[in-house]
């Protein structure tokens, strides 16, 4: 195993690099220090154990960085120089802080710079999961081998950057456990599993039709009736004992009928929307994995007063069960309806008592499920493809050579490159020993598979350092297989498929035309959704959406219409559209269309014709939308669920659209106190930033972009006044003096600087594509893209081609 020394080594080496910056500014800092600080923190006296006279500003190292940070912090807090000493002027402090902060930023940048050579990185969770899916042709619904893996840390905004992807003891243990689970799932040499058939109602006697027995505490006297949303699922008791007997495809059949969609009860009493057709959802869960395993896999509209039979096919992992729910039924509990709603309508019902459920059943809206059955497992191929690919024609009696061959086939796929017998000898020996010891042929095979799946060659995207002079001369170019791997993880977050692999095997992948064709092909593949999800999720911080959810009481619609998912979907569809249609990246800034469903259109106040599902919608002139800045996803994720956060929004614009990274805030800053009475606007409160000189330094750059977006509320709805009636002023002045008017002003500002946006997006894409931080060596590649992209109408697809063709992408 020739893995290069681990990251810490590299890191330690890098620490010895020193920032080199000799500017006149620094002599100014030095004079500031000598006039205000050195008397107490110098040669004669070292109060608080601090001594600044030895600081060499021409050669600041990490050891000094802590001291510099101290100085900045104390100046920011205004605690030094202490009272009674001569105080420097505000402008002096401001200058010193600015200069010290920039020195520190440079130092940070330098010390973590990788010079573009650290490429050893492990698969992150998403990549691991996708790779397992593609390696063994597994159906991943309800199966996540990475579920117990620790979260991947985010570096430079992305979770696929090698530097952040550390490996812990805990993770290693998880790799072992998951590999064992996967091996058990994949090695299925036996005969095709028997088909089982369970159900209730219909031909099964334990029927929902067996109407009336003892009313249970939820009033479910008739098991075929669904009264309320979600809490009251309908299950198949026979199935619930142990779940389905084997992984496989199952057919769920049910007969359902919507009854009394509109009833005597008012919608607000039932917390229910009678204008919508009833929807029945199917969800899966596993008792073994607990409630987190539950997920909704399908939803069907059920017509009024007419029974429909619906068959739904889905893949279930062993041990999973299914249940059906009324997805848009009355909210809350049946208890509430019996205690509070019924007495309003029936004088024989007693307010706040649990009236007999028989008094309600049959009067309100109900979703009737007359039968519910499940049959399976069915297989298109047996043995499963993921097994027969590596273990074709299994021998009748144990043959160890066959095992060796099979493991070799698997290793060649799993390691994403050709592998020879010698390389995997340790694995085959392990397998043979296991067989000798326990005598179970297929368990030995599983053991071998488990070992391969915990190999660093599988877990790491290995691009081994070469000592070969010839290769050195070739500018550290990636091998064919490494290139295929990098491309595949860039666009699919998974291993190369057969076509890409054969291209690499043939050695023709570095032909620009060939690789271009592959990029085009790969972007059209369904797997490219991984690129859309992961890249937009991280570039635009969409993953933050939902981490500060709005108050459910005050924002009912947000939850009732599932706006969070709708917003995320809008942005993903938008990105996808620009990618697939090869549109200009400037449409990210402004356009005259977006993607909406009816709920989101209502939220935005944009007319939406019939239907409910997502489609491309032209934005009317009167509405201020278009471009990412009008997307609810971004506006909601940059708010805290109650009010907008102009600072967060400003930073978002700077970092993700303009490529400017404001310095992090100094420690010990008192946050702005929220004004619960609503008598001052956020703008007035943020005036504080102007009054304190050290705050002003950064906030004059950040705040304007946030304040210009104030017309969008915390959920991205348009507003012209605050809820307490105060008016919104969304015109702002940038630090350099430009005046922007609202969101349109920001768009115009960025569109006037297309290169700056192009550079920003290119950098983001490149980090994501390479899985590492950028360094000054990548600068040339980026400059080239920024220069050439305008000639291609700023096409997003072309941008991706440029990145794939860049020197950085093709080098180690």
């Amino acid at each position: 195993m020739t893995i290069r020394p681990f990251l810490p080594m590299v890191f330690i080496l890098l620490l010895s690099c020193h920032a080199r910056a000799v500017e006149p500014e620094q002599t100014r800092v030095q004079s500031f220090l000598s006039s205000h600080c050195l008397r107490c923190h110098g040669l004669k006296s070292q109060k608080a154990d601090r001594r600044f006279d030895q600081l060499d500003f021409s050669n600041i190292g990490l050891t000094d960085a802590g001291l510099l940070q101290d100085i900045v912090d104390q100046l920011n807090l205004g605690t030094m120089p202490p009272e009674g000493e001569a105080q420097p002027s505000a402008s002096e402090i401001q200058q010193a802080v600015a200069s010290l902060t920039s020195s520190l930023a440079k130092l940070r940048e330098e010390t973590r710079r990788t010079s573009g050579n650290v490429v050893l990185r492990r698969l992150n969770r998403i990549e691991y999961r996708n790779t397992i899916r593609d390696l063994f042709d597994l159906e991943m619904t309800g199966f996540d081998p990475t579920v117990t893996f620790p979260a991947d840390s985010v570096t430079d905004g992305f979770d696929n950057v090698g530097e952040g992807l550390v490996t812990s003891d805990y993770l290693l243990q998880n790799y072992l456990d998951s590999a064992r689970t996967i091996a058990m799932k994949v090695i299925r040499p036996g005969p095709r599993p028997q088909i089982v058939h369970y159900g209730i109602g219909g031909q099964f006697s334990s029927a929902p039709a067996s109407a009336i027995s003892t009313p249970d505490k939820d009033g479910r006297i008739d098991s075929g009736r669904l009264f309320i949303k979600f809490r009251q699922p309908l299950v198949i008791p026979d199935l619930n004992k142990s779940g389905v007997p084997a992984d496989g495809e199952y057919a769920i059949t049910f007969t359902a009928c919507a009854v009394r969609r509109q009833s005597r009860y008012k919608d607000e009493d039932l917390r229910y929307d009678s204008s919508q057709p009833m929807r029945l959802s199917i969800s899966i869960q596993s008792r073994e994995l607990g409630p987190t395993s539950q997920s909704i896999v399908a939803e069907y509209e059920i017509p009024d007063d007419r029974s429909v039979e619906i068959e739904h096919r889905l893949w279930l992992q062993k041990g999973f069960t299914i249940s059906v729910h009324w997805a848009n039924g009355p909210e809350g509990s049946f208890k509430r309806i019996m205690r509070k709603v019924l007495p309003k309508y029936n004088p024989d019902a007693l307010l706040l008592a649990r009236n007999p459920p028989e008094m309600y059943v049959g009067s309100g809206p109900e979703l009737h499920v007359k039968s519910l059955e499940i049959e399976g497992p069915f297989y298109k191929d047996w043995p499963p493809k993921g097994f027969s690919r590596y273990f074709p024609d299994p021998p009748q009696s144990p043959e160890l050579d066959y095992l060796d061959q099979s493991l070799l086939r698997l290793a060649s796929e799993a390691f994403r490159r050709p592998v020879n017998h010698e390389e995997i000898e340790s694995y085959t020996t392990l397998t043979r020993n296991h067989y000798d010891k326990y005598g179970d042929y297929w368990n030995a095979a599983r053991y071998g598979v488990q070992a391969l799946l915990t190999s660093p060659h599988f877990l790491y995207l290995v691009e081994p350092e070469t000592t070969d002079r010839e290769e050195l001369a070739s500018d550290f170019r990636l091998t064919q297989h490494e290139l295929a791997t990098r491309l595949s993880y860039f666009l699919w977050s998974s291993m190369p498929d057969r076509a890409l692999r054969s291209e690499a095997d043939r050695g023709t992948l570095n032909n620009p035309k060939v690789i271009r064709a592959h990029v085009e092909r790969m972007l059209l593949n369904d797997k490219a959704s991984a690129f859309v999800d992961n890249f937009t999720g991280q570039w635009l911080n969409l993953r933050k959406l939902g981490t500060m959810p709005p108050d459910p009481e005050k924002n009912r619609e947000y939850y009732a219409n599932n706006l969070e998912d709708a917003m995320r979907r809008e942005t993903e569809l938008y990105f996808s559209h620009i990618l697939q249609q090869n549109r200009s990246i400037l449409e990210f800034i402004d356009s005259d269309y977006t993607f909406l469903n009816s709920a989101l259109a209502t939220h935005y106040g944009i007319p939406f014709e019939e239907g409910d599902s997502f489609r491309k919608v032209l934005i009317p002139e009167s509405t201020v939308r278009g471009g990412l800045l009008g997307h609810g996803s971004i506006l909601t994720s940059t708010s805290n669920g109650v009010e907008t956060l102009p600072v967060t929004r400003g930073i978002w614009v700077l970092e993700n659209l303009l490529g400017v990274h404001p310095n992090p805030p100094p420690p010990d800053i008192e946050p702005l106190e929220p004004d619960t009475r609503g008598v001052t606007t956020i703008r007035e409160m943020m005036e504080k930033h102007r009054k304190i000189a050290t705050c002003y330094e950064c906030h004059r750059k950040i705040d304007p972009f946030g304040l210009a977006l104030e017309n969008y509320d915390h959920l991205g709805s348009w507003r012209s006044i605050y809820s307490k009636g105060l008016s919104i002023d969304s015109s702002v002045q940038l630090s350099e003096g430009t005046i922007l008017k609202g969101p349109t002003g920001i768009k115009e500002y960025i569109l006037a600087r297309p290169d700056q946006f192009t550079r920003c997006l290119t950098e983001k894409l490149l980090v994501y594509a390479l899985g590492r931080r950028l360094s000054f060596t990548d600068r040339a590649d980026i400059d080239r893209v920024v220069k050439q992209l305008p000639k291609h109408n700023y096409s997003l697809r072309q941008l991706i081609h440029f990145i794939v063709a860049s020197r950085a992408f093709n080098s180690k």
Binding site: P215, D348, A353, P356, E358, V361
Partner: protein
Amino acid sequence: MRLFLTTVFLLFISESLEAHSHPNVILVLSSDVPRDELGSYGTDTQTPNLARLQKQGTRYQIAWAMPTFHLSQRALLSGKYPTTGNSPTEASTSILVEPEKTRSPDITVATILRKTGYLTLAAGKWATDGLTPVQESLIANGFDQHCILESSLRNQKGPQTIVVNGRERSVENAGKAINAFLIDFLSTPLDKPFFLYYPMLSPRPVTLDDETHQQSTSPISRAGDVDQFLGDLLDSLEESGQTENTLLVFTSIHGLATKTTSPPAKDLTDRNPATNSKVLVPFIVQAPFLSEGGHVTRDLIDFTDLAPTILELTSNTKLDNHQLDGRTFVPSLKGVEDPFEKRNWIYARAGNVHMIRDWQHFLDSDGNFHDLIKDPFQRESVSPLDKQAPGRKQRLELILQRLESKLTIPNSK
């Protein structure tokens, strides 16, 4: 006032008389046979004719009569709960003597049907208040014809005397004779619809008064006899082609304790007339013009519901129930699900004790409260841990209070 309303009502329904075909109505009430000996309510007895009725009809799981024949008959024919008074005579005996003379007699379903052109016939047993002569009482209650065993003439050894339209006739076995009369009656075509009220007599002589529940014949053989009588009626109805147009209700004149439905006779509750098992009766309704049958339901029914139901079906007019205590169960027969069109409590009364129940809980005016699903024999109190029970009890209390104030005649009268 009441008379006026009834008159208006009568005028209204006679208007619509010509427009519809009017179903015949037969009420068959068994006596002396416990509920769970009968067909689908139990398992042991061979009762093929009840099974047949059930297949074509709707079987009610929770139906209440009154604890005595007398009260049952009053509730059934009038559609109203019998009022209670505090007269000393009434308190002293369980055979309730109604203070009839203190108020105008109720208008019965028979009276109304006769006026709308029905032939009305009472057969089997007839309960009187003991003050009015039998025939007078029958006419006052609206019956054109009768074929009854007069209660004063019952329980004799040897030949029995039945009264057919005023004429006494001596027969070997009154029960068989009356059934035979009815079979004749059903086989003879009539030019108008009929209403038959038929509390069955036991085909075998019963040695003691049915109020004491002490009989010489075994319940099993009596269940078989009831089934046989019913079967004969069903056959002749079918032969004369009237089944399709006949509403037939089979029930009992009151509940009856047995080994399987209630604790041994020594148990206190058995002597207490105010229990669920004293009023819980079989109730099967065959109405081919409304429903194909074969249904079993937990919809609640008590005896006051028969009058409004019959009136609705015979007049094709939905009755405004304000005048009656009962409520039509036509929606239930039609399979309507809406509970707002059905009852959510039922009531009975024994002496001065009022009882009320819903699908699960029982409450009487002495404050006894029971969960009939967990405790059908009413032997224990409801667990204090039962979270639903207090609310259910409160609701029943509220309704019972309303009823009590309506039904109790003040002492001064």
